[in-house]
C-alpha cells in the first residue's frame, strides 16, 4: 500500500510553474532540477541558513542532523518548526532510504559528503546539489596559500550559493537583495579602512579549543584581512592547525579573537598566568566574537555583511562606529530574516 502511494506522489505532475533548469554545482557536477523546487532536503548548514534568509523554510522537508550545534540557537528563531523536521543525514553521509522516504525534489549536500551517496541518490532519481561556498578558483589555487585568491574564491562561492539557492527556490529577488546588502557593507568597510598602511594593521591571533588556530586558507582569514587586520598565523600555517604557546609568544599578537562558542578558551586565556605577558592580554584586547558575526571556515552572507564590519569596529573603533554596526545588524535581521536582532555588539 505504502509503496504504491509513494510512487503515486512521485509520478504526479506538479504545478505548471515549474521549469527544468540545468547547471553545474560547486563540485562541477551537472544538476537538473525542476525549479522552483517544492521539497528540499538540506544536508549543508550554510545552505540551511541561506534558505532561511531567502524565506524558503516551507520548502525544506529534511535537514542535516545536529543543525542546532552546527548553526547555533538563533536558527530556531529564523526557522520556526525546524525541530520537527526529520534529519536523514549529516555533512558526510545520509541514510538513502530515509531521504527517499521524504520524496525530495532536491538534496543539498556539503563538500565532504560522500560521493557514493550522491551516486545512490541519483540512481533513485533524486537530484543532488553540492554547496561548498567556494568558487571554482578554489581548486586551482588549493595549494597556494595567498589570501587574495582565497578571498576571491570565498566571495564568488558565497555569491553563487546565495543566487543559485534563490533560483532553485524561486526567490531570485530576495537573493539579489541579500547579496547586495553583503556587498554594500563590505564596500563600506573597505572605504573606511582604505587609507591604512600595512604597519598600522593590528596583528590578530585566533584562538580555538585545543590550541588550534586558523591559518591561511580559511574564510576567517579573509574576514580578518577584510577587517583590516593581519592574521599572525597566516604566514606560517595553512588551514586549521595546533600551535604551541611558544609560537604565540613569538608572534606576540595585538589582539586575540575567540568565538563565543569557545568561551572556556577565552576564560582560560584571561586566567592562565603564562598568557599574561602576551601583548593582547596585557592590553586587554582579547575579544569574544558573537554568533551573528560567524567567523567560520566558510562564509555566509551575514559573515560578509556583519562579521567583517564587527571585526573592523573591534580593531578600529575610530574608523568604524558602534552605531553603524548596530544599525546594520538590526537592518539585516529585520530585512533578511524578518525578525528582531537580539544579539549584543
Amino acid at each position: 500500500g505504502c509503496a504504491n502511494q509513494t510512487a503515486g506522489t512521485l509520478s504526479q505532475e506538479k504545478t505548471p510553474k515549474q521549469t527544468e533548469i540545468t547547471f553545474l554545482d560547486q563540485n562541477d557536477r551537472k544538476v537538473t532540477v525542476k525549479a522552483p523546487v517544492k521539497r528540499i532536503v538540506v544536508l549543508q548548514h550554510h545552505s540551511l541558513d541561506i534558505l532561511a534568509m531567502l524565506g524558503a523554510q516551507d520548502q525544506v522537508v529534511g535537514v542535516v542532523s545536529k543543525w542546532d550545534s552546527l548553526l547555533g540557537k538563533y536558527i530556531t528563531d529564523v526557522f520556526p518548526g525546524i525541530e520537527a523536521l526529520p534529519t536523514p543525514g549529516s555533512l558526510e553521509d545520509c541514510n538513502v532510504e530515509e531521504v527517499a522516504k521524504l520524496n525530495p525534489d532536491l538534496v543539498i549536500v556539503a563538500a565532504q559528503f560522500k560521493k557514493e551517496y550522491i551516486q545512490q541518490l541519483e540512481n533513485l532519481g533524486i537530484p543532488v546539489m553540492t554547496v561548498t561556498l567556494r568558487g571554482e578558483g578554489k581548486q586551482k589555487e588549493a595549494q597556494n596559500p595567498e589570501l587574495a585568491n582565497a578571498d576571491v574564491a570565498y566571495t564568488r562561492g558565497c555569491e553563487w550559493a546565495v543566487r543559485k539557492l534563490g533560483e532553485v527556490t524561486g526567490k531570485t529577488d530576495k537573493a539579489v537583495k541579500i547579496w547586495d546588502f553583503a556587498v554594500a557593507n563590505r564596500t563600506y568597510v573597505e572605504d573606511q579602512l582604505k587609507n591604512m598602511s600595512g604597519d598600522q594593521k593590528v596583528r590578530v591571533f585566533i584562538a580555538n579549543e585545543n590550541n588550534m588556530t586558523y591559518g591561511s586558507d580559511k574564510y576567517v582569514g579573509c574576514q580578518l584581512e577584510r577587517a583590516g587586520a593581519v592574521n599572525v598565523a597566516a604566514a606560517e600555517i595553512k588551514g586549521y592547525k595546533e600551535v604551541s604557546f611558544e609560537k604565540v609568544a613569538q608572534w606576540n599578537p595585538d589582539v586575540i579573537v575567540v568565538q563565543d562558542r569557545y568561551k572556556s578558551v577565552y576564560d582560560s586565556i584571561l586566567a592562565d598566568a603564562k598568557w599574561q605577558d602576551i601583548k593582547a592580554v596585557r592590553e586587554n584586547r582579547v575579544i569574544l566574537a558573537p554568533y551573528w558575526t560567524k567567523p567560520w571556515g566558510n562564509p555566509g552572507p551575514d559573515s560578509i555583511a556583519l562579521g567583517e564590519l564587527w571585526l573592523a569596529y573591534q580593531f578600529y573603533p575610530d574608523q568604524i562606529k558602534r552605531d553603524i554596526v548596530e544599525v546594520k545588524a538590526k537592518e539585516f535581521y529585520k530585512e533578511i530574516y524578518g525578525i528582531n536582532f537580539t544579539g549584543t555588539i
Binding site: L10, N27, E92, V96, A100, K101, E116, L124
Partner: protein
C-alpha cells in the same frame, strides 16, 4: 542428544541462518516496501514478469539494498575467516586480519587518494584501487622485511605490526595536511568503515581476487591445521612451511585488503567472531573456517540491519559492532567456554 545428530543440526543451522538473514535484510529498510513487494520485485528480475509496480521501490531493492547486503556478506566472510586463520597460524589469540598492517596500508592508500583528488574530481574507484594497492604493498613490505630477517612466524608478525605502525603514522600525516573541512572528514569517515558506499561496480572490482583467495583458504584447511602445529612439526610432516604459510597468509591478506578497500576498516568482526567460532568448532580448521564464515556473515548482516534501520541517520558500524557483540562474548567467557591453550 547424539553428538553426530548435534553436529548435523548445527551444520544445517549454520548454512540456513545466513540465507535467512540475507532475505530478511532485503526486506528491511526505512523506505517502506512490503515483504511481498520485495519478493515480487526480486522474482520480476529473474522471471521477467514485466510487472513493475513502483520503479523507486525496485531501484531501492536492486541499487541500494542488494549491493550493500552483498557487501556485508563479503566483508563478514573475509574478516572472520582471515581472523580465524591468523589466530591459529600465529598461535596468538590477539591476532586479527589487521595484525599484519594490511588495514593501515589500505587506509593509507585511501587517504592518499582522497588527498590527491581535488574535491570535484574525487573518484571512488581511484580511492578503492589505491586502498587495495597499498594494502597489498604493505603485505609485500612485511614479507620482504621478514624474509631478510629470520623467517619465523614471530618475525613476520612483528614486521607486520611495524609496517602497520608506519602506515598508520603516514595516515596521521595525511590527516594533518588534509583540508580539515572537505578531505579530513572523508578520510576519517572512510577509515571508520561503512557498508553504505558499496555499489555493484565496487563489488565487481573485488570479486576476481576475492573468490580465488577464499577458495584457496577453503581448500587448504587441513594444511592450516598442520601449519598451526608449529614450523618444525609441519616441516617434518612434509609440509613446505615457508611456501604454504606464505600462500595462506597472502590469501588472507588479499581478502582483508579487498574488503577494507570496499568498506573501510571495520573492527571487531575479525577478532571476536573467530573466538566465538572456536567455541563452537574447536581448533580444527576444517570446521573452524566454515563456522567462522557463517557466523561472520550473519554477524555483519545483523549489525548492518541495525545500522540502517534503527534511527533516521545511519548509526556508524563501529558503534553497533561492539555493543551488540560484547554481551554474547561476555556470556561465553563467563561460561568458561573460551579456551585457548
Amino acid at each position: 542428544m547424539d553428538k553426530k545428530v548435534g553436529n548435523i543440526t548445527l551444520g544445517v543451522v549454520l548454512i540456513l541462518l545466513p540465507v535467512v538473514l540475507f532475505i530478511a535484510s532485503l526486506m528491511l529498510g526505512p523506505y517502506p516496501i512490503g515483504p511481498f513487494d520485495v519478493v515480487k520485485i526480486v522474482l520480476d528480475n529473474f522471471l521477467g514478469t514485466g510487472y513493475v509496480d513502483n520503479p523507486l521501490a525496485e531501484n531501492m531493492i536492486w541499487k541500494v539494498r542488494m549491493p550493500r547486503i552483498l557487501g556485508a556478506v563479503l566483508v563478514g566472510a573475509a574478516l572472520s575467516v582471515a581472523g580465524a586463520v591468523f589466530q591459529g597460524l600465529f598461535r596468538n589469540p590477539l591476532a586479527s586480519p589487521y595484525t599484519l598492517g594490511v588495514s593501515n596500508g589500505a587506509g593509507f592508500g585511501a587517504a592518499l587518494a582522497i588527498l590527491l583528488s581535488s574535491g570535484a574530481g574525487l573518484n571512488v574507484f581511484f580511492v578503492q584501487l589505491s586502498a587495495l594497492a597499498f594494502g597489498l604493498i604493505s603485505i609485500g613490505i612485511t614479507f620482504l622485511l621478514a624474509a631478510k630477517a629470520r623467517r619465523s612466524t614471530v618475525t613476520l608478525v612483528l614486521s607486520g605490526m611495524l609496517v602497520g605502525a608506519l602506515f598508520s603514522s603516514l595516515v596521521a600525516l595525511i590527516k594533518y595536511v588534509a583540508d580539515p573541512y572537505e578531505q579530513l572528514p572523508q578520510i576519517v569517515f572512510w577509515l571508520m568503515g561503512t557498508l553504505s558506499g558499496v555499489t555493484y561496480e565496487k563489488l565487481a572490482m573485488i570479486l576476481p581476487l576475492y573468490l580465488p583467495a577464499m577458495t584457496v583458504i577453503f581448500l587448504m584447511r587441513w594444511r592450516i591445521n598442520i601449519l598451526s602445529m608449529g614450523d618444525q612439526e609441519a616441516r617434518s610432516y612434509g609440509v613446505d612451511v615457508k611456501k604454504n604459510r606464505t600462500v595462506v597468509i597472502l590469501a588472507c591478506s588479499v581478502l582483508t585488503a579487498l574488503v577494507v578497500s570496499l568498506a573501510g576498516v571495520i573492527g571487531w568482526v575479525g577478532i571476536v567472531i573467530p573466538h566465538l567460532a572456536r567455541i563452537i568448532a574447536g581448533h580444527d580448521f576444517r570446521k573452524l573456517v566454515p563456522v567462522s564464515l557463517s557466523l561472520g556473515i550473519c554477524y555483519v548482516l545483523l549489525i548492518d540491519d541495525i545500522c540502517r534501520n534503527v534511527t533516521a541517520a545511519e548509526i556508524p558500524l563501529g558503534v553497533v559492532t561492539g555493543i551488540i557483540g560484547t554481551p554474547v562474548f561476555i556470556y561465553f567467557i563467563y561460561k568458561g567456554k573460551v579456551r585457548w591453550e
